[in-house]
Amino acid sequence: MTSLDIAPFANALVLGLSIASIWLIAAIGLTIIYGTVGVINMAHGEFIMLGAYTSYALQSSLGLPFLLCLPASFVVVALVGLIIERGLIRYLYNRPLDTLLATWGVSLVLMQGVRLIFGSDPKYIAVPEIFQSNVEVGFASLSVFRLVVLAITAIIVAATAWLFYRTRFGMQVRAVMQNKEMAASFGINADRVYMTTFALGAGLAGIAGSLFGVLAIVLPTMGTAYVVQAFLVVVVGGGTLMGSVAAAGLTGELQSVFAFVTNDTFARFLLYVLIVVFLRFRPRGLFAVAKGRR
């Protein structure tokens, strides 16, 4: 079905925004961690998964309503990220290949741990009635929940931008990003900055996971589906917040438009080919971090 009528095509563009927001919220935690700390966090998918399981656990044991589960999963997964950073990542900052391996090990441990505690069967997260319908505005139709994801993504991006560009902490983070030793010589506690940004990135992944648990499914392996997209967004974007936003927007829209014109499988193939070609000509990504050589 390749008719290019205006109404369905416009609907595909609107859907592209939703897909972009899903990929962006999955990638934002990774952007912060990679952009600031330089760690390639292979356990990022599992942080997402932990967020979903936190929501499930809080809901099934305490009966917490879904909207409260979101900040709760931020806090819980941020704590987990903090423990992992203090316990393991901290010792490996100068060894990027070893962090790759170590975080891969962490991801396996987290996956199996969740499996042992909760079991392999899929879990169910309840949401308020209102999230089970859709909104129609003229030609465009989108489910209420997708709009919620879009809204939450926008809020998170705005909050992160405010944090990084309008607060003293954000200034410290940017200084450490550009040159860790120089920033430390100015009296900035670089270790504390790294620790906080890692926890922050993990917490944001937790929020994403809670949302994805409702949109799709809660399984111990759910993170693996999102980690590839997240890495793509970060790499194409170049590691900065602005870059990730632009990359997610571009790839999300392209995926939706290609899927509208052909089919989902071919759309994904085409998108990946374009990404490879793009990286060939611009390996640093769209908006790369301006910093000294690492």
Binding site: D121, S141, L215, A216, A225, N263, D264
Partner: protein, 436 residues
């Protein structure tokens, strides 16, 4: 130390001799391959299912119900006085692991039979090793047919035993226009080929056909296309975790199940529990078994299974029940083979397969009622049923076949010939073995 030609030749010939030596010295070494049964020792069978990964959703229950069935059989005296011992492996939803574990079970563990697989892709991955080692695979799931092997027995429905009933029922009750959605691999594509023919026979019209990557949970674009095409119902062959995401997003995007239900061959009780009954209610499934089947054998099965230590997932569904049946088909086949040879040590995997034609599981053991194994193509004769998911997650039977339906693996390929026990016999009389 420098390597001269003389040294190289001497060392490599010594190494070759060392490797070849055991096969010369030990006369039994050449008989080491292949499964053997010993009198008085437990009978080893392999359970090759995924206990982790996205396929664990349907497959973990298969392992659990096999263990339950084996315990039940052993409690009743085993097979000819021998207990059955399961060797359990985790295929991790990875096709490479399936074929590696199949080799391990057949060659190293020397199991007499394998119970395994769910997706057709995993079955096709292990069939080469099953066939080359002349072993025996019990495949307990619905599949697309188009195979004629001499080493498998299947207890799940073929396309002409579920979609052939489902498509006309949906056309009659909801309308002619249908949209096909499936996961992107062999079973949905073949099932849709079959379904297109039944659709034409029922007078229906195909308004769209989309395949999404296996494991993907993004259904926005597909639902957009469905919205444009305005079908009367959707025929879904989406499997695994994607299936749950599909039903959730279907309702979230505003589609109404009463006017456009999803009819599938796989969305059963566990999937409905995982997505929540509010997302599953109103959709249709064609399968030979539902947890709500109203007969004394099923009521006893459901009660005892859920009470046992294997019933932790809380429901019984068609895939699990078909696996349960395969355990009893194995028992009957093995008993027949032992009776035929008179000595348990002479029984081979292939022998069990050959005598299993016509084996019955009566309705005092089978929760879905009497089934029996076809003597030509070794699939099952069963009664297809159609159920609609209710608001509490259980299924109400809305249609049931009056007679058992014969399995026909080549129902839409009449020119391929007829599958018999000896091989696939083409119309010109030529017979071929191991057709997959």
């Amino acid at each position: 130390m420098d390597l001269t030609r003389r040294k190289l030749l001497k060392q490599s010939s010594l190494a070759a001799a060392a490797i070849a030596a055991p096969h010369l010295w030990l006369p039994t070494a050449s008989k080491a391959w292949g499964a053997t049964l010993k009198k008085g020792e437990p009978i080893k069978v392999g359970l090759l299912f995924s206990l982790s990964g996205q396929l664990a959703v349907p497959e973990e229950d298969s392992t659990l119900v096999m263990q339950y069935a084996i315990d039940e059989i052993n409690k009743n005296g085993g097979v000819a006085g021998h207990p059955i011992q399961p060797v359990i492996v985790d295929a991790k939803s990875d096709f490479n692991v399936y074929s590696e574990k199949a080799k391990e079970l057949i060659i190293r563990e020397k199991v007499i039979a394998l119970f395994g697989c769910y997706t057709s892709a995993s079955r096709k991955a292990i069939l080469p090793v099953v066939m080359s080692q002349n072993s025996l695979l019990y495949y307990p799931t619905c599949y697309e047919g188009a195979e004629c092997t001499q080493n498998t027995i299947c207890t799940g429905p073929l396309a002409n035993q579920h979609s052939k009933d489902l498509i006309p029922y949906m056309v009659k009750n909801f309308g002619k226009k249908v949209f096909f959605v499936g996961s992107n691999y062999v079973w949905p594509k073949e099932s849709n080929k079959n379904a297109k023919i039944w659709l034409q026979e029922a007078g229906g019209e195909l308004v769209g056909e989309e395949y999404i990557p296996l494991g993907s949970s993004e259904f926005g674009p597909v639902l957009g296309k469905i919205r444009d095409a305005k079908p009367n119902f959707i025929f879904s062959t989406v499997v695994g975790a994607s299936d749950i995401a599909f039903h959730k997003q279907f309702k979230q995007e505003g589609f109404k199940v009463d006017s456009m239900p999803i009819a599938s061959l796989t969305t059963g009780e566990i999937e409905t529990k995982a997505m929540g009954p509010e997302f599953g209610a109103g959709h249709f499934l064609s399968a030979p078994y539902f947890q709500s089947l109203d007969n004394p054998t099923n009521q006893k099965f459901v009660e005892n299974f859920l009470k046992s230590k294997y019933g932790k997932n809380g429901s019984t569904h068609y895939n699990m029940e078909e696996t349960y049946l395969s355990a009893y088909v194995f028992k009957a086949g093995l008993e027949a083979a032992i009776k035929k040879t008179g000595n348990v040590e002479d029984v081979t995997s292939r022998m069990i397969r050959d005598v299993s034609g016509g084996v019955r599981v009566e309705d005092d053991i089978s929760p879905e009622g009497l089934i029996w194994i076809d003597g030509d193509n070794f699939n099952s004769w069963l009664k297809p049923k159609i159920g609609q998911c209710q608001a509490d997650g259980s299924f109400k039977i809305v249609s049931e076949a009056k007679e058992h339906v014969a399995p026909d693996p080549y129902s839409i390929y009449p020119n391929a010939g007829k599958c018999t026990a000896a091989g696939l016999v083409a119309p010109d009389g030529k017979s071929r073995k191991n057709v997959i």
